[in-house]
Each structure stands twice: as structure tokens, then as C-alpha cells.
């Protein structure tokens, strides 16, 4: 499975990459902003996008809506990663079509399993 991780925090992207790659055996590409994530999604067509909710500039919600509105990326499932207090906004995104939410801090040994479980549900 190819995962696009979109998060402005380099360290979080590192941990997510190590977790998904070393534990989950997944291919990982990274983007540090909403705009970069959209460009990579259009170019790489990942199997799933792990999208941070709170980013400066184009935040997770705006990135999600942009990906949904573009024919080339609308079918890619999107899972939000967010601090728990953002859950209301993440649930709103879920009602608009996001596949699910993973809360921070996540267990690095379980991230791949959580992602797989969300995609299967």
C-alpha cells in the first residue's frame, strides 16, 4: 500500500514514515503542506492519504475539500490525524466523506493497523 503523509511537522512525518514502513511494510511519500500534498496526490495517486488537520496556511479541512473537488484525487481515501480537541472538526470532515480519524499521539506500532482497519470498515 502506498501512503501519502501530509503534515507540516517534519518529526511527525518521520515517525509516521518509520511506523508505516518498518512496522506496516507500506510505501510512504511525504508532503509538508496542503498545497504540496495536493500536487503529490495528483502525481503519485497514492492508495490513501494521511492528512494532518491543523497546518498553517491551507489547513487539513481546506486540503480535504480541494482533493474531493478534483476528479484526479476525489477517489483517494483520506484519513485525518489530529489532536483530540479537533475531533469535532474531524467528525465534520468524516460526514463530508473522509474515511476516518486517527488521534495524536498515536502508537507507532499500531498506526499501520489502525489505518488498515479504517480502510476496511
Amino acid at each position: 500500500m502506498r501512503v501519502l503523509v501530509v503534515d507540516d511537522e517534519e518529526d511527525v512525518r518521520y515517525v509516521a514514515r518509520m511506523s508505516l514502513d518498518r512496522v506496516g511494510g507500506m510505501d510512504v511519500v511525504e508532503a509538508s503542506s496542503g498545497e504540496e500534498g495536493i500536487a503529490l496526490a495528483m502525481k503519485d495517486h497514492p492508495d490513501v492519504i494521511l492528512l494532518d488537520m491543523m497546518m498553517p496556511g491551507m489547513d487539513g479541512a481546506a486540503t480535504f475539500l480541494e482533493l474531493q473537488s478534483c476528479a484526479a484525487t476525489a477517489e483517494i481515501p483520506i484519513v485525518f490525524i489530529t489532536a483530540r480537541s479537533m475531533n469535532a472538526e474531524a467528525r465534520r470532515m468524516t460526514s463530508l466523506g473522509a474515511r476516518g480519524v486517527i488521534t495524536k499521539p498515536f502508537d507507532p506500532l499500531q498506526l499501520a493497523n489502525e489505518l488498515t482497519a479504517i480502510l476496511r470498515s
Partner: protein, 192 residues
């Protein structure tokens, strides 16, 4: 009005009035002058809609229609513009006397209560915004710390010698504990 009750009309701190269904005051108590700053002559000479905040005129007109049909109005709120330009918020109770074409009404000044409500709403919103910001600022580095330590402790990054493994285990255990403490604190902050 019976003679023994008449003094209360003038003494009341609440606004008391008798109005016509034509939208004009017939009689007002002194509290009107005290609160609104207009003389009784001014208040009696113009339709009462003239003194209302413009956005509130249409709903007030609808209430007047109901009163004309014989329905009472309870706790109906609207804003009035005082002579000095300030706005006061009033809560009205009104009962029609349809046979006479009159409305008997009383109003309470709820301006301070409304301001307090608005201040509370803004304060609660600021608290929610603060918790959201602080939650992100605390949980994001926790994600990196806990994640890195968990990966090291699990051995997926390579085997550690016993001492290094022990040190990493201590750090990982305490990062999980710290994450839990942060969760509890942020949950407590959310409670009223």
C-alpha cells in the same frame, strides 16, 4: 386603574404603558423618561416603532399583529434607541384589551444581562480556542517523542544493548504517562 394601585404605575422601576393597537403610546410611566431619555411628550407624540432599533421593527410589527388578534406576548425582546444614541434591550410582556383597542404592557431593561451573556459566550469561545491551540502544541511533540521511543523500544530500528534498551524503555514509559496526564488536564479544562 383602581386608586390604591395607581401610585405603583408611577413608582415602578419597570416600564409600564398603555398603548393603542395603532402603534402609539396612550400613557407611559416615568420609568420611560428615566431609561430612554426622551420626554413623555416626545414618546407620546410618535409611533413607538420610531424608537425601536431598525432591525427589530419587523418582528415587533408581527407581535403587534398578534396582539391585535387578541394574543398576549410574553418575554418578547427588542432593542430601543435612547435619546443619547445608546441602545437598550428590553423584555416585554403585553396583554391586549381588544374591545377597547388597547394593549397593556410592561418591560424590563435586560441590557446588562444581555451584555453579560455575550461576554460569557466570548469567554467560552476563547477558552475553546485556547484548548484547541494548546492541545495541538502539546500533542504534536508528544507524537514525535512517543513515536520515536516506541519504535526504538520495539526493536524495528535495530537491536539495542541492554543498557540502551532499559533507558529507552524508561523514556517510552514516561512519555506514555505524560501523554495521559496531558489528556486529563485538557479534559478538565473543557469542563464547565
Amino acid at each position: 386603574m383602581s386608586e390604591d394601585l395607581a401610585p405603583f404605575f408611577d413608582l415602578s422601576l419597570e416600564l409600564l404603558c398603555i398603548a393603542g393597537i395603532d402603534g402609539r403610546f396612550r400613557r407611559i410611566n416615568p420609568a420611560f423618561e428615566t431609561l430612554l431619555g426622551y420626554s413623555s411628550e416626545e414618546l407620546l407624540s410618535r409611533p413607538f416603532f420610531d424608537f425601536m432599533f431598525h432591525e427589530d421593527r419587523e418582528p415587533a410589527m408581527a407581535k403587534l399583529m398578534n396582539l391585535r388578534r387578541g394574543e398576549s406576548a410574553i418575554n418578547f425582546e427588542n432593542r430601543v434607541v435612547c435619546k443619547d444614541g445608546s441602545i437598550r434591550c428590553l423584555a416585554w410582556t403585553a396583554a391586549p384589551a381588544t374591545a377597547e383597542g388597547l394593549i397593556y404592557a410592561a418591560a424590563r431593561d435586560i441590557t446588562k444581562a444581555k451584555a453579560a451573556e455575550e461576554a460569557l459566550r466570548r469567554s467560552e469561545q476563547m477558552m475553546r480556542d485556547f484548548i484547541m491551540a494548546i492541545s495541538h502544541e502539546l500533542r504534536t511533540p508528544m507524537t514525535s517523542m512517543r513515536g520515536s521511543l516506541g519504535l526504538l523500544a520495539s526493536g524495528v530500528m535495530g537491536e539495542l544493548n541492554d543498557e540502551a534498551a532499559r533507558a529507552v524503555s524508561v523514556a517510552e514509559r514516561n512519555s506514555v504517562r505524560l501523554a495521559s496526564v496531558i489528556d486529563h488536564i485538557l479534559e478538565l479544562e473543557k469542563r464547565p
